[in-house]
Point group: C2
Chain length 115, copies 2
């Protein structure tokens, strides 16, 4: 149900107004900083759309050692308190579409030089 | 408008029935194999949701040297022909939500050992 080594990828696809990106990203950065200190965290990257026409303006991709590591981090009281503070801030409303994923196809181009 | 080195991330968020995942992934693999041979391709990973409850069952994350490299690859006649064949195949219908992105926040946990 996960990667070959048991790792999982947490993806959050945000529906948010482009005008609200900067404020939202600041809040997200604080929250993610707490998540990043949890055991089993491998890395996360928040992606911002280049174009205002893109349906989903922000996409977060985070990697964890295991589904359990992610669940433990999300259930941590400090994390939950930080998430509640973020929700209470006057930050823009965003629709979160979250899920845990496993890689099914990987193409690696990093070993090929540019022709 | 892109990463510090000019690189961009192409993300495709798929809306597709869970029953259709295997067939769709096979078709996607052929198409991605052609993209992977294009100049400027850095890597791609197709992620499949662990749970059938997840709204977006597949998410593709691909990295390119530049927006132009991605545009050139997408406009390549061989690529367009392969995409048309894929569209003509009896593969499941999927809604594609595509966009080019740049990283705005990165947390790296790979240098930390598991406690």
């Amino acid at each position: 149900m996960s990667g070959a080594d048991g790792s999982v990828t947490f993806i959050n696809v945000f529906e948010i107004d482009r005008d609200d990106l900067e404020t939202f990203t600041s809040g997200w950065r604080r929250l993610a900083g707490i998540m990043a200190s949890a055991p089993g965290f491998r890395g996360a990257q928040l992606h911002e759309a280049l174009s205002g026409e893109t349906r989903f303006q922000l996409v977060n991709v985070a990697r964890w050692d295991s589904e359990q590591a992610w669940r433990d981090a999300a259930a941590n009281p400090e994390m939950r308190a930080a998430a509640e503070r973020l929700g209470a801030d006057p930050v823009p409303r965003a629709v979160h579409n979250t899920g845990l994923y496993r890689p099914v196809v990987t193409f690696d181009g990093e070993d090929r030089g540019t022709p």
